[in-house]
């Protein structure tokens, strides 16, 4: 099953068919989510209109963790089963994840100032999220630091797997320690503690961010497969 998709040529064919569908899904979901979030959802009883930052902040934070987990799984498959496509998927995920992590930190800062009274605190949630950003940046730096791509892939895959430990720390930091950041509202044991009128735009935006990730991933994987072909062709020309 895995081998069917792991074939780069077959992947290229599937990707070029799937890409326009994913693109349209992203645009539709984001459009609906933005409409609900900005025009058709109530202000919060405590936070007023500032609650609308949630519709970009929370999906970005979810995607930051989702991308990292996906990257770690792909890197693990690449390391153990030596699937070239898995390595490419891990590499292609990193910039998207780094962007989402930065956005979660940035929008969180903009939300924290009016609500908490500070742009930044060194509590467990915010600090572990900053560590996640450094893990992404470290991975990107490491994978590009080697002349031999195989060695770069191996070292950076190990880094990703080591850093995976940070993901549960981020998720549960608000439950394990006293933090300024509040506990989870949606992904919690006893169901969401968020009104339905606010949950819908949040979930739509989260879905839009997810399809956006797949969209960028498809484009990037195609680009990386072609890039590998170019390298092989050039090597052949030099030696031929």
């Amino acid at each position: 099953m895995l081998h069917r998709f792991a074939n780069p040529t077959r992947f290229l064919r599937i990707a070029s068919i799937a890409q326009p569908w994913i693109a349209w899904a992203t645009i539709l979901l984001a459009g609906t989510g933005l409409y609900l979030g900005l025009f058709n959802s109530p202000a919060d009883y405590q936070q007023g209109e500032s609650v609308r930052i949630m519709y970009v902040h929370v999906p970005a934070a979810w995607m930051a963790m989702f991308c990292y987990t996906s990257m770690a799984i792909a890197a693990g498959i690449g390391l153990i089963w030596k699937h070239p496509l898995a390595d490419i998927a891990a590499k292609a995920t990193a910039p998207v994840g780094a962007c989402f992590t930065f956005l979660a930190l940035f929008t969180g800062s903009l939300w924290g100032k009016p609500m908490w009274g500070t742009w930044w605190v060194w509590d467990a949630r915010l600090t572990s999220m900053l560590v996640l950003l450094f893990l992404y940046l470290g991975y990107i730096a490491l994978i590009n630091a080697f002349d031999d791509p195989a060695r770069g892939t191996k070292s950076s895959s190990i880094l990703v797997l080591v850093g995976l430990i940070n993901v549960p720390i981020i998720k549960f930091s608000v439950d394990w320690w006293n933090t300024l950041h509040q506990p989870a509202s949606v992904l919690r044991m006893d169901g969401p503690s968020i009104d339905e009128s606010m949950l819908w735009p949040l979930l739509l935006m989260a879905l839009a961010f997810k399809t956006y990730y797949i969209w960028v991933l498809l484009v990037r994987i195609r680009a990386e497969i072609i890039s590998n072909k170019i390298r092989i062709l050039r090597l052949r020309q030099v030696h031929g």
Binding site: A43, G48, V56, T107, L110, V216, Q237
Partner: protein, 67 residues
């Protein structure tokens, strides 16, 4: 909207942008998020296009070499 006077519509727009005074926090959040996501997508697409062009050029020269 037709039943509203112009002034009222303008007020509504101003209220919407102002966001109870939180506009300065809400709008940068949305704009930077949208901006960064679009930039990343555009960069990735350019990377693909550039690679496709390079590959095509390489394949053409490879063919010429064979001939």
């Amino acid at each position: 909207m037709g039943s509203y006077k112009d002034g009222k519509v303008m007020d509504q727009i101003r209220d919407f942008i102002n966001m109870e005074g939180y506009g300065g926090y809400v709008w940068p959040s949305y704009l930077v998020t949208a901006g960064l996501m679009i930039i990343l997508l555009v960069i990735t697409r350019r990377f693909l296009k550039a690679n496709m062009a390079t590959l095509e050029a390489l394949e053409n020269t490879a063919k010429e070499d064979v001939e």
